[in-house]
Amino acid sequence: MLGQIAEGFATIITPMNVLLILAGVTAGAILGAIPGLTSTMGIALVLPITFYLEPVAGLSMLIAMYKGGLFGGSVTAIMFNAPGTPAAAATGLDGNPLKKKGYPRKAIRLALISSTTGDLVGNLVLIFTAGLLASAALQFGPTENAALIIFALVLITIITGNSISKNIISVLLGLLIATIGSDPVTSIPRFDFGLDNLSGSISIIALVIGLLAVSEVFETMEQHYYSKFSKSSSNTSEFEANRNNQKKKDDNITIKEVTAVKKTLGRSSIIGTLIGALPGLGPVTATFVSYAQAKSKSKNGDNFGKGEKEGIVAAEAANSAVGSSNLIPLLSLGIPGDATAAIIFGALIIHGIVPGPQLIETNGPIVYGIFAGMLIASAFCFVINWYASNVFRKIAVIRPTVLTPIILVLCIAGTYGYSQASFDIIVMFIFGVLGFLLKKIEIPLVGIVIGFVLGPKLEESFRQVLVLSSGDISIFFTQPISLVLLMISLLVIFNHLRKTLKSNKQIKE
C-alpha cells in the first residue's frame, strides 16, 4: 500500500496540481470565513470547472476547497463568535472567550494544530482502513442513528450552559423550530402559517447567522454603549481590556501547551473519525460529542466555555476529522455522508469513476493520487492559516464602531447569497433579535442550533424505527448498539445528577 501512496504523490506533484490545491484551500478559507458562504457552495460552483481537468487534479482541488472552508468557518467563530459553519459553533464556545482575553493568535493557532491533527488522523484512517470502517458503519440503521442522536442531545444538554433547565429549553426550542416545514416522512407542511416560504423549512444558514452572529453584534453594541456611558464601571474596563491584545510573544502557542492537550487531541480526532464515517450524522454531532467528552474528562471542566484550550482542541480536532472520514462511506460504499460528499460523488461520476467497494481495484492510481492530494491540502491549510493568524491578530483590535456594521452587512450578504431569498434575511433578523434576548436571560443559543440541526434526522430515524417495528419502541433495547448508547446516555445523566447533588451539599456545608 505504501508503494501505491508513493505513486499517488508522484501523480499529484506537478506545478499545476499543486497550484490548483493551493487555490482550492485559499478560496475555501475565504468562503468559509464569510458567515453564510460555505465551502460546499464553493465546491458546487467550481464543480463544472473540474470537468476540464484531470480527475486527480479536479477532485484534489475540490477536497482542498472543502478543507480550507472547514477551518475558515472556525476562524470567524473564534474572532467574532460568528461560525461560518454550524459545526464551528463548538470551536467558538472557547475560542471566542480566549480571543476576548487578548489571545486571538493563540486561539487560532491552537485550533489550527487541532484541525490539522484531526484531519491527518481522518486521512490516514481513510487511506488505510476505509473498507473496514465502512462495513462497521453499515451496522448503523435508523435505530442506532436515533440512539446516537439522543446520546448527542443528552451530552449537549449537560454541557452547553450553567442551568440544566435552560439547556433543556434551549435544545427543545431547536428541535421545535426544526419541525417547521415539511414533515420528514409524509412531506405534509407543518407550521407554515399559509406562507410558501415556510413550507420547506427554516434555512439553517439564516438561523445560525441570526442566532450566533447577529445576536453577538447586538451584544457588542451594548458593551460599546456601556463603555461609552459609564467609563468608571468595572464592566467597561473589562470590555476595553478585551479589545486590546496581549503582547505578541505571549499570544502564541507553545509546545508545552500542545503537549498538555495531547490526550484530548487524540481522543477527539478518533471520535470525529468514527462519527464522520457514519453517513448523515456529520460534523455537528461529532464536534459536540467530542466537546462533551473532553469536558467530562478534563481537570479543567469548569473552565469550559471560558476560553479553555482543551475545549478548542476537542471541537476543532473532531470537526476536521469528520471532513476526511465522511469520505469513507462515499469511497468504500458509494454512500455520500453529507452535501459536500454528494457533490464530490457527482464529480467522481463526471470523470467516469464509480465509488464503491471496487473503486480501489478499478481506479487505484487515481484514488491514491486523490489521497496524496488530500495530505498536501492539509499541509497547505496549516501553513497558510499559521501565517494568516498574524493578520487575524490585527483584525481583533478593530473598533466595534467599525466592525459591527461590517459584520451586519456581511450577515445579510451571506444569508441572501446562500438562498437568494429575501425572506431568509427577515428570518435571520428575527433569530438575531431572539438570540440577543435569550442571551440576556442566559438561555444558551448553541443548544438551539444543535437541536435544529439534529432534529430532522432524529425524527426521521425514530419514525422509521416505529414503522419497522410496528410501533414497538422496545427495539431500542434489543439492538446491541442502540442499547449501549442509551445506557451510556442514562449513565451520563445519573453521573451529572450525582455531581450536582454533591456540589449542592458542599455549598450547604
Binding site: S165, F193, V402, T404, P405, G417, I425, G455, E459
Partner: protein, 149 residues
C-alpha cells in the same frame, strides 16, 4: 440608581415557557399540523417544554432568593435604536437595492455608534462594492436590486 434599570425575574421566564407550551399544544399545533403522525414530535417537544417550565415554576414559587436579570434602560434604548436601523435596512433592501442601501446603512450605523465621517464614508463605499463584485461577478449570485443598484 435602580430607576435606571428594569428587572426580569427568573420565574417570569419559566411562566413564559409554560404559556408558549400551552399556546402550542392548545392552539398552534391543532391549527397548523395535520392530525396523525406529523403531530407526534411537535407534541413530544412541547410536552417537554411544559414539564420543564411547570417544574421550575413550582421550585421558584417556594424559593425566596430566586434570580433576576437587570437591564440598563438607557443602554437598551441605544441598542434598540441600532436594531431599529437594522430593521429598516432589512425590510427596505428588496425595494431600494443592496448596494445603495448598504452604503446608507453603514454611514448611519457608524455615525450613530460614534464613528467619524471619514472612516464611515470609506467603509460604506469599499465594503458594499467589494461584496457586490465578489457575489455578482465571481460567484454569479444576485442581490435584490430594487429601484437603485
Amino acid at each position: 440608581m435602580d430607576s435606571n434599570y428594569f428587572k426580569v425575574k427568573e420565574i417570569y421566564i419559566y411562566g413564559l415557557v409554560v404559556l408558549l407550551g400551552l399556546l402550542l399544544i392548545l392552539v398552534v399545533i391543532p391549527m397548523e399540523v395535520q392530525k396523525g403522525e406529523p403531530r407526534l414530535f411537535p407534541f413530544i417537544y412541547t410536552t417537554g417544554l411544559l414539564i420543564v417550565g411547570i417544574a421550575n415554576l413550582f421550585i421558584l414559587a417556594f424559593n425566596k432568593n430566586s434570580n433576576h436579570f437587570k437591564f440598563n434602560k438607557k443602554i437598551i434604548k441605544y441598542v434598540g435604536l441600532n436594531i431599529l436601523i437594522y430593521t429598516a435596512y432589512i425590510f427596505l433592501i428588496q425595494y431600494v437595492g443592496f448596494f445603495a442601501l448598504s452604503v446608507l446603512f453603514i454611514i448611519i450605523q457608524m455615525r450613530v455608534l460614534g464613528e467619524g465621517w471619514k472612516m464611515s464614508i470609506i467603509i460604506s463605499v469599499v465594503l458594499p462594492l467589494s461584496i457586490y463584485l465578489l457575489f455578482t461577478e465571481i460567484l454569479a449570485l444576485y442581490f435584490p436590486s430594487g429601484v437603485l443598484l
